[in-house]
């Protein structure tokens, strides 16, 4: 279906990534926001608080991040498209209930504007060290979907996608901005409402008295009932059967949890997005995401001037990981160079998928700034000499 024009502020704007993500959320139909301000994500919450009165949304500044994530889960079951935004220690506080959202199969969006860590770290400065936390930061087995925008325009576009994927797969979806993208101001074009596709909620049409909240079909995603639709149903974070009632047994655990994982994994081709440039036929392929992807391209230009055959692979989604394509490329190239503002996270994913078919090298950065393109160039040069 098309976006509700009420929430779409069509036009050309000069916006930072945080505010662009807020506009993306509102365009996608978000009408409930609960959050607790934390740098560098505050502009997103602030912008939503300014815009929600115009669109009839509910904004609550909660007492903390635990309450914020819990409130958006409740709001989703109450019928709203809901979101929270946070950073650093705030994401860590939200982790328990991101697991609850995954377990209850609650569509909702969590934006994390990554800053330098661990702990309070570098509140006002950039980091990309939360990517593994985004995958498995909550306890137990689950899969998640995560986007990584490299510009304010993509902060808008990817937040819309995040809401759509949350509905389609009934899962929490993360938008992993970084401080640099969150705070940089660039041109953002917001299209007309009829050019924005919005995924409808998968609501049940079961007869009253016959609704089973966790019965599912081939796509492994159950249909949802919202409070107020007239169905009697129960949801719980405990291992539950198709009625949604707790059943703590090996049998039920094996019925439920593999499906939570499989519903994302079996649809990875539908979810995964990446950009590729000259990767076929290259000696070295640079893998990067977020702001690091932009800086990497400067290094690639420098390497090409030296005559090195370099390809580029940018993750638009980080989770699920593009395992198949990385494995294919590994057979053809000498080395991957992974550029990220952390000390090796996606690096290990690439290395895992490469299965020793080529070298995998890391261009690390501890955080607080972006890479110096010359530092990336040195790693590319090393990769070109591999084998």
């Amino acid at each position: 279906m098309k976006a509700d024009p009420v929430g779409v502020r069509t036009g050309t704007f000069y916006l930072d990534g945080d505010r662009a993500a807020a506009e993306g959320a509102i365009a996608a139909g978000c009408r409930f926001f609960a959050g607790y301000p934390i740098t560098p994500s505050t502009e997103c919450a602030e912008h939503i608080s300014e815009r929600f009165p115009e669109v009839g949304g509910i904004f609550i500044q909660m007492e903390d991040e635990i309450a914020s994530i819990t409130a958006i889960i409740g709001a989703a079951w109450g019928g709203a498209r809901s979101m929270t935004v946070t950073s650093g220690p705030g994401v860590s506080l939200m982790m328990e209930n991101i697991g609850l959202a995954a377990m209850l199969e609650t569509p909702c969006v969590v934006a994390n504007v990554q800053r330098g860590g661990p702990s309070t770290g570098l509140p006002t400065m950039v980091g990309q060290a939360d990517v593994m936390q985004a995958r498995w930061g909550s306890h137990g087995d689950y899969e998640i979907i995560a986007y990584s925008p490299q510009s304010p325009q993509e902060a808008f576009d990817f937040t819309v996608k995040a809401f759509n994927m949350a509905e389609k797969y009934r899962t929490p979806v993360m938008v992993l901005l970084d401080e640099c993208v969150g705070h940089m101001v660039e041109k953002v074009v917001i299209p007309p409402a009829d050019a924005i596709e919005v995924e409808p909620r998968r609501l049940t049409d079961a007869a009253k008295g016959e609704y089973l909240p966790y019965a599912y079909g081939d796509d492994l995603v159950p249909d949802m009932a919202e409070a107020g639709m007239g169905y009697r149903f129960h949801v719980t974070g405990l291992t539950h059967d198709e009625r949604g009632y707790p059943e703590m047994s090996v049998r039920c655990q094996d019925w439920l949890v593999p499906r939570l994982v499989a519903k994302i994994r079996q649809s990875a081709d539908d979810i995964v997005e990446f950009d590729e440039e000259n990767a076929d036929g290259a000696d070295v392929v640079v893998v990067s995401y977020g702001i690091s992807a932009r800086v990497s391209r400067m290094a690639i230009d420098l390497a090409r001037e030296e005559g090195i055959e370099v390809g580029f692979f940018r993750l638009r989604t980080i989770w699920p990981f593009p395992e198949k394509r990385i494995a294919e490329l590994a057979k053809k190239i000498k080395a991957f160079v992974v550029v990220e503002i952390n000390l090796g996270q996606i690096f290990y994913e690439v290395e895992r998928c490469a299965r020793g078919q080529c070298e995998t090298l890391l261009s690390p950065h501890a955080g607080g700034g972006v890479h110096d393109p010359e530092d990336i160039l040195k790693v590319i040069e090393k990769g070109a000499k591999a084998k």
Partner: protein, 195 residues
């Protein structure tokens, strides 16, 4: 061609708004790419404050200043902090009532203006000092076309102040033109830009 512009002053002078206007003018009204970011942290409140704007025909890959082409200084502290990143042949624009540049290195093209005084005495509102200096910068550097700057001002300043801001911009722009007959020699150091 990539141009890197730093505008610095103290909190309250409208430094950040100036950055937004330049970036918006370049990216929305001149169809170039422009990335703007601001100093962010405790220093932004009351003391030194700065914004950086990168303007390019091509996509902007590196998001920060590496070597600035233009430094606009509205405070002594900002001037001292950011002079070091200015290119050897960069353009320095400063309010001479607010900044004592000391000895300016050979090669740097310096353009002083009494922007705050113009805003206070000619326009009666000190608050438009930043717009006066933006007008002056537009005339000096031609980094962004005048028409684009005017459009960006109209859509960025509070309603009810558009006329005053446009007047301030024109006044700053003309301040350079009035002194435009003077020859700027490469490496001649400071010159008198305008009163």
């Amino acid at each position: 061609m990539r141009r890197e512009i730093r505008i610095t002053g103290f909190g309250g002078q409208g430094v950040i708004l100036s950055g937004v206007i330049v970036g918006k003018a370049a990216s929305i009204y001149d169809e170039k790419n422009a990335t703007m970011s601001q100093s962010y942290g405790p220093e932004a409140r009351g003391s030194a404050c700065s914004t950086q704007i990168l303007v390019d025909d091509k996509e902007i890959l590196y998001p920060y200043i590496r070597e600035s082409d233009v430094l606009v200084a509205m405070s002594q502290e900002g001037y001292t902090k950011f002079l070091g990143e200015l290119k050897a042949d960069g353009v320095l624009i400063y309010d001479e009532d607010l900044v004592n540049p000391g000895e300016i290195k050979k090669g740097i093209k310096a353009y002083p203006i009494k922007a705050q005084r113009i805003a206070e005495t000619d326009l009666g509102r000190k608050i438009v000092t930043n717009i006066v200096i933006l007008g002056f910068m537009t005339a000096v550097t031609k980094a962004v076309p005048k028409e684009a700057m005017v459009e960006a001002i109209k859509t960025s300043v509070p309603k009810g102040t558009i006329e005053l801001n446009l007047k301030a911009f024109e006044r700053g722009y003309d301040a350079f033109r009035e002194g435009a007959g003077e020859q700027v020699e490469e490496g001649s150091g400071a010159r008198s830009g305008a009163e």
